[in-house]
Symmetry: C2
Subunit: 143 residues, 2 copies
Amino acid sequence: MANQHAVPVKGYQKNLQSWFDYMMEGHDRTQLWEMLHEDVVFRSPVVHTPQEGREITFAYLSAAGNTLGNGTFKYTRIFDCGDKAVLEFETEMDGIHVNGIDMVEWDADGKIIDFKVMVRPLKAIQTVHAAMGKMLEQMKAKA
Amino acid sequence: MANQHAVPVKGYQKNLQSWFDYMMEGHDRTQLWEMLHEDVVFRSPVVHTPQEGREITFAYLSAAGNTLGNGTFKYTRIFDCGDKAVLEFETEMDGIHVNGIDMVEWDADGKIIDFKVMVRPLKAIQTVHAAMGKMLEQMKAKA
């Protein structure tokens, strides 16, 4: 498969544009924290159980930013529905091609209330699984 | 997690409505065949390599209909962009909760030109992997 091209990440509605600005311009953690609702839920590609609340969601998303947000990361298709959006991406992790989506929902005040990630193919989810395991160990070691 | 509720599958634009009618009303294989572009590409949740062409895409989608389209299957969120859509679903396979998406693109004539599936969590993709293996064996046995 020829990989899909990156799509522009400018000119979107405010909520989505804030996310793109965070992802594509320096991963400012304060900005990430401000985007998250107190009761936001994070749903990982690996585990069924939802991760509830701002602190754990912040931990997952900022760690994912470090892991996935390397030089190869790009968004390839955008499904923007205003109060919710699906953002398809492609990236490489440890030489494995990762194709995935961020599914984001915002409340009326523009805070992210639900954030779900899916990836394909099987090798990619296995790679993400291994990376998340390491990440959680590091988080525990620091705590 | 409380599972998400099914969303209505009526009242959508023509292309998407045709898909819902196929999925929710009897899986008419002639209808499926008619919806697919000659050069449609199917991208599975398990394998990186795209499956190219109407025959193989038809085989995957009709088999997936048999496997996933059991009594527990429901669509839970719709991201409708006219010429493309993301359809989130939930179902159970062999007692495993499967949360996934159909990502569909149509050409200007309303034919499906690209169909991608992702599922989560890891257990679900493993279950789909096993089911697809069995399905492909059956397809080969019949061929």
